[in-house]
């Protein structure tokens, strides 16, 4: 600033002269957005205003004068608040990561369990049918024995003959509890294997579980939405490096999924030990043959969905902002454009 004192107080009206360029004192050498239109003023001449002796830069786009006078920050609270905000943001990202992993693992398990349910249901139905038949026969035998006692007759041989014969798989399981695998294989071949299973249900569509397909139809868009949220949450990262975020999310999802599978396996083994039903044995067969592979397959599909979401997340967010927000409000989310070097949308 020059030492020329100001002739009149700035709060008093002054003679307004047409704008003159003033003395050119230098060139602006760094980025500085125009306060009105945000045009980057780098490279513009710095002039000294002839009336007020202020150093100014005129925006070549809108003509707004920007003063170069700045005041340094003396307080410490700005830094403290910035630190609190940064820590909160980091915490939010960690929570988001855990929630993303949990959601992916939960959706995968949902699909896996739904896919195994028809097999488990069929085994349960077979076992319960035999069990009920046996109960009915036992009741009938008890009634016949009571009637015989009342009549003074002894007909023990006929009660033994009335016991229903168990189906072959259950018979194997009853004879030798250690040969569970053979029992399940016998049950599976009794249904004709995979082909017989599908044929028995009149086509593969009906052999699959409705809820399982529904789960998959919902889960993949949900995974894409998770990817899109991450693409916007880590705006500071260039788009070409977003695959790293996808890998982290996928790793957390896979870890949760593995944990859930281990819990399911423990629960399944505990069920088999605690309950004597033969269908629990088939349940484990369904776990290994259907549920676990289906869960892994679903997880892979969800990971693919996350990567798709990461790829399209930012363009979709920009489209939503352009479409749903009034022009004045768009400026608040201009970072969606500026971080990728794009021109923000017009505010008019």
């Amino acid at each position: 600033m020059s030492d020329t004192p100001y002739s009149d107080h700035a709060n008093q009206p002054v003679d307004v002269k047409p704008f003159s360029a003033g003395d050119r004192v230098g060139i602006l050498g760094a980025d500085r957005p125009c306060t009105s239109c945000a045009y980057d003023l780098i490279g513009q001449p710095i002039v000294r205003d002839p009336v007020y002796q202020l150093l100014l830069v005129r925006c070549p786009e809108c003509g707004t004068a920007t003063a170069l006078q700045e005041y340094p920050l003396l307080g410490r609270w700005a830094g403290r608040w910035a630190m609190v905000l940064a820590a909160s943001w980091m915490l939010a990202l960690v929570v988001l990561l855990l929630l993303s992993g949990l959601a992916m693992a939960g959706l995968s398990m949902w699909f896996g369990e739904a896919m195994a349910e028809p097999l488990r249901g069929a085994a349960r139905a077979d076992y319960m049918a035999w069990w009920e038949e046996r109960q009915i026969q036992a009741q009938m035998q008890a009634a016949a024995a009571a009637a015989a006692e009342a009549g003074g007759e002894d007909d023990g041989g006929s009660t033994a003959a009335a016991q229903p014969a168990p189906p072959a798989p259950i018979a194997i399981w009853q004879q030798r509890a250690s040969e569970q695998k053979a029992s399940v294989e016998a049950w599976w071949s009794h249904h004709g294997g995979l082909e017989g299973w599908i044929a028995g249900r009149q086509g593969w569509l009906r052999a699959l579980d409705w809820w399982g397909l529904g789960a998959l139809a919902v889960s993949i868009p949900a995974a894409a939405a998770i990817g899109a949220v991450w693409a916007v949450a880590v705006l500071g990262l260039p788009r070409r490096r977003l695959w790293g975020v996808g890998l982290v999310v996928a790793a957390v999802g896979a870890a949760f999924c593995l944990w859930f599978l281990m819990l399911a396996e423990q629960s399944s083994a505990a069920n088999r030990a605690a309950f004597s039903g033969w269908h629990f044995t088939v349940g484990r067969f369904a776990d290994w043959r259907v549920q676990y592979p289906a869960t892994v397959l679903s997880l892979l599909l969800l990971i693919a969905g996350v990567f798709v979401g990461l790829h399209i997340g930012r363009p979709v967010a920009r489209l939503l902002v352009r479409t749903l927000l009034p022009p004045r409000m768009r400026w608040g989310l201009a970072m969606l454009w500026t971080t990728e070097g794009l021109k923000p949308p017009s505010v008019r």
Binding site: P5, N11, Q12, F19, Y52, Q69, L320, V321, L333
Partner: protein, 225 residues
């Protein structure tokens, strides 16, 4: 609380001195009471950052709300289209519209054509929202885009849903619901466009009022001694 503002040359406290908006430069200027230098009153960076953060948060919240509204408006338009089309076809065929039944079960007696007011009301509500939200787009373009969007969403839901529920509800696989809804959308589009025009007019008059208020405030600031 006033923001501190000291003269960079003599250190005099200028925070209590009212700044005057200079017509020529468009800057808020004040003279230092100590040395007479001209100073510029500017918002400090902290406040500017907070304002930017606040503005971003507001924009984000509005975006979330608008996404919810878009979802609701899509469902309401689809339901309105379906109800309008099926009610009109029932009335033409001389059948009692199915839409009457909920009224009757609630103990209300309504004439058959009166139930047409319900889907039309749905179109009016959605149209008002559409006019207010998409006032910055051209009317014809935004209306066509919105109707195509609703039809596309319903087509995806119908086709995906019919694939999934083919086992339970085979009658849905013929996509007759989609055809009925699309026809109803076309029938209800005049009401939708009318309400959209009203909403647009309301949004424009509000923007005009805001601009006027800003202009008056700036003029008052310039007049301030």
């Amino acid at each position: 609380m006033r923001l501190s503002h000291h003269c960079f040359a003599c250190g005099a406290d200028c925070s209590r001195i009212a700044a005057r908006l200079d017509d020529r430069l468009g800057l808020a200027l004040l003279g230092c009471p100590g040395c007479g230098r001209t100073l510029v009153r500017r918002s400090v960076q902290v406040r500017r950052r907070w304002r930017r953060l606040w503005r971003g948060t507001l924009a984000f919240l509005l975006l979330v709300v608008q996404m919810g509204f878009l979802l609701g408006a899509t469902g309401l338009s689809a339901a309105g289209g379906y109800l309008l089309s099926s009610t009109i076809s029932d009335l033409i065929a001389g059948r009692r519209p199915e839409l009457v039944r909920p009224f009757e079960s609630a103990g209300l007696m309504v004439a058959d054509p009166v139930v047409l007011a319900l889907p039309l009301a749905m179109f009016l509500v959605v149209g008002l929202w559409h006019g207010i939200t998409f006032a910055h787009f051209g009317l014809v373009r935004s209306v066509i885009r919105f109707l195509v969007w609703v039809a596309a969403v319903v087509l995806v839901v119908c086709s995906g849903g019919s694939f999934l529920v083919a086992r339970e509800f085979p009658s849905l696989t013929d996509l007759s619901g989609f055809a009925t809804m699309t026809f109803g959308l076309l029938l209800g589009s005049p009401a939708f466009v009318g309400a959209s025009l009203l909403g647009r007019r309301a949004a424009e008059s509000r923007a005009r009022w805001r601009r006027g208020r800003y202009r008056r405030a700036m003029a008052a600031r310039r007049r301030k001694p």
